[in-house]
């Protein structure tokens, strides 16, 4: 135990991380076992399987997962492996099916994972079908429709894992006049030849936008640049358990104009703003529309990026898929259309923002294989961290505070492993 602790303390300092933690395939295998297969991981949203027997292919880290809604209306997380010989029973990305028939020997499974039928059943004597269903992720929990899975049968609950970041989902839902998020716009799948943790850290790195995204800030009417400037009142926050935030609310409150967070005005979204007032009351609606939507990275794989949702999927030590879609707010068609349009412009392989981020991820991954220096430096703003009224560490929006928080949690998880 002591030996393990020492090893991770050497690899991860308070102000820097050893390059091998990003690029060593052996350490990657370790973190799949000790992080991805132990903690809560975001899988999908209930609105992706609205009807009974709907299914959609998802993943838990490298593991493919079929998320279904069974005949009773319950969401299930099934492993895509026939209990007979191991063939993958589902090859479609999404659809509606009350049974999955394995094409190898025609065993069939219900949308609840139970084994329904074995072909040529006379060959099976005293066979307990109830033990031969599709495997399920041992623990599943959801909050406001966001479904998480956990391969560890025991451990913290989802609410304990989310901790202070739980409230982020409430803030997000409040943006809908009906209080609900919908994930219905389909996903772009954007592959990068880089380690997943480079994305995990960059999502709440408020230092890079001024530089990586200067090309689009220079030519588009965008307020984003201002948010990450030296004059910005926005702050970075560490919620603990690896969850981090770029809290843009202080800057939007300084501006004080509803819908300015989205670069627009109330007048341009008359139906949405009217319905928000109806739902929340004048004063509260005004505050919500000033504050805008959250920018939070939920460890290890869910990035709520104001108007988008990113899901990080590690595929190999040097390969990660970013699944990304536009957030949709129930009862807000006027806003939703703009959310889709802006998302399509910003993200994916040709996006005005994400193509540049992704190029940097790949170059950074290659850079980190260099022999020297062996450690990164993430000490920016260490001298000006403060504890906010809720007890969380906050700092300047451009500080490395979120990264330091992520690595504290990562080191704790990896050190705790036997």
């Amino acid at each position: 135990m002591n030996q393990t602790v020492t090893r991770w303390d050497e690899l991860i300092h308070n102000d820097g991380v050893h390059g091998s933690v990003y690029v060593d395939p052996k350490l990657y295998d370790e973190e799949i076992r000790n992080i991805w297969f132990k903690t809560w991981v975001y899988i999908g949203h209930e609105s992706e399987v609205p009807k009974r027997h709907d299914f959609v292919m998802k993943s838990l880290g490298p593991e493919p997962i079929i998320m279904t809604r069974d005949g009773q209306g319950e969401v299930r997380l099934l492993l895509n492996r026939c209990s007979h010989r191991g063939n993958q029973v589902c090859t479609k990305q999404k659809g509606n099916a009350s049974v999955f028939v394995c094409p190898y020997h025609a065993w069939s499974f219900g949308s609840d994972g139970r084994l329904r039928h074995m072909s040529m059943p006379d060959g099976y004597k005293d066979c307990d079908k109830s033990t031969l269903g599709l495997a399920q992720v041992p623990r599943m929990a959801s909050y406001r429709g966001f479904v998480f899975g956990c391969f560890a049968a025991e451990g913290p609950t989802l609410e304990e894992h989310l901790g202070g970041a739980l409230e982020v989902f409430d803030r997000l839902a409040a943006m809908s006049p009906e209080g609900e998020i919908e994930v219905t716009a389909g996903f772009l799948k954007h592959k990068v030849s880089a380690n997943w943790k480079l994305m995990l850290e960059n999502e709440t790195d408020g230092y890079h936008p001024s530089f990586v995204h200067a090309s689009i800030f220079n030519v588009a009417q965008s307020g984003i640049g201002q948010l990450y400037s030296r004059e910005s009142a926005a702050v970075s926050r560490d919620y603990g358990n690896g969850h981090t935030e770029c809290d843009l609310r202080p800057q939007f409150r300084k501006i004080g104009t509803p819908m300015a967070w989205f670069g627009t005005t109330e007048e341009k979204l008359p139906e949405y703003t009217r319905d928000m007032r109806k739902a929340h009351g004048e004063e509260r609606a005004r505050q919500i529309m000033i504050d805008g939507t959250p920018h939070v990275m939920i460890f290890p794989n869910l990035f709520i990026a104001e108007i988008q949702l990113f899901v990080l999927q590690p595929v190999a030590v040097d390969e990660t898929i970013q699944h990304v879609t536009a957030l949709q707010f129930k009862g807000a068609p006027e806003l939703n259309r703009r959310l889709r349009q802006q998302t399509m412009g910003s993200v994916g392989p040709a996006g005005f923002l994400l193509a540049d981020d992704s190029e940097i991820y790949e170059r950074t991954h290659r850079g980190l294989t260099a022999q020297s220096p062996r450690y990164t430096f993430i000490g920016r703003g260490a001298h000006r961290e403060v504890t906010d009224q809720d007890g969380y560490l906050t700092g300047d929006i451009t500080d490395d505070l979120p990264s330091r928080g992520i690595w504290r949690h990562y080191r704790a998880l990896m050190s705790a492993a036997p």
């Binding site: 990305q93 716009a185 389909g186 996903f187 772009l188 799948k189 954007h190 592959k191 990068v192 030849s193 990586v212 200067a214 090309s215 689009i216 220079n218 030519v219 588009a220 898929i321 990304v324 879609t325 536009a326 259309r337 889709r340 349009q341 998302t343 399509m344 412009g345 994916g348 392989p349 040709a350 005005f352 193509a355 540049d356 992704s358 190029e359 940097i360 790949e362 170059r363």
Partner: protein
């Protein structure tokens, strides 16, 4: 359309080859000039028949967003294209699929070899154009690029395709 006059087919082919060459050589302004004022540049994801008004596409640019894309290239600090991809493409199987009073619907196949910092990538695409004649010259009112692997995870594709 089998009955298209040879001259018209030749003119269409010349247009398509020129567009391909401008893209390969990053001749951004000349490429932008090929568009009509209401041009739409569309690269769907997850198949070829999704509704771009409802579901995510890789690119779904109206004319002003095409112009923004070009302006971003011109900053010289569009990181995903600095250094620029080295490109060569073969466009073939060009047919005039349909023709209305003012629009030619043209289909073609393209194989694009991209050499980038990351690695070399081969892209396979079906092109669909709507071409209109403006002041005597063919212009693109619409270009749809269906990548044959668009249902899979794709790497950066920040060049013009």
């Amino acid at each position: 359309m089998n009955g298209a006059p040879v001259d018209l087919l030749r003119e269409v082919e010349s247009f398509v080859y020129r567009e391909a060459s401008l893209q390969d050589h990053h001749e951004y302004d000349a490429w932008e000039a090929l568009w009509t004022d209401d041009g739409v540049y569309w690269i769907p994801a997850n198949g070829d028949d999704i509704d771009p008004e409802k579901e995510m596409s890789i690119v779904y640019d109206n004319r002003s967003r095409i112009a923004l894309r070009i302006r971003q290239f011109h900053t010289g600090i569009r990181i995903a294209q600095e250094p620029k991809s080295s490109l060569v493409r073969v466009v073939s199987n060009i047919v005039i699929a349909d023709q209305s009073a003012d629009t030619l619907h043209v289909k073609a196949n393209a194989i694009i070899f991209e050499s980038a910092t990351r690695r070399d990538t081969i892209w396979g695409a079906r092109y669909e154009y709507a071409l209109r004649r403006i002041d005597g010259k063919l212009r693109m009112a619409r270009k749809k690029v269906v990548l044959v692997n668009n249902a899979k995870a794709l790497p950066n594709m920040a060049f013009l395709i």
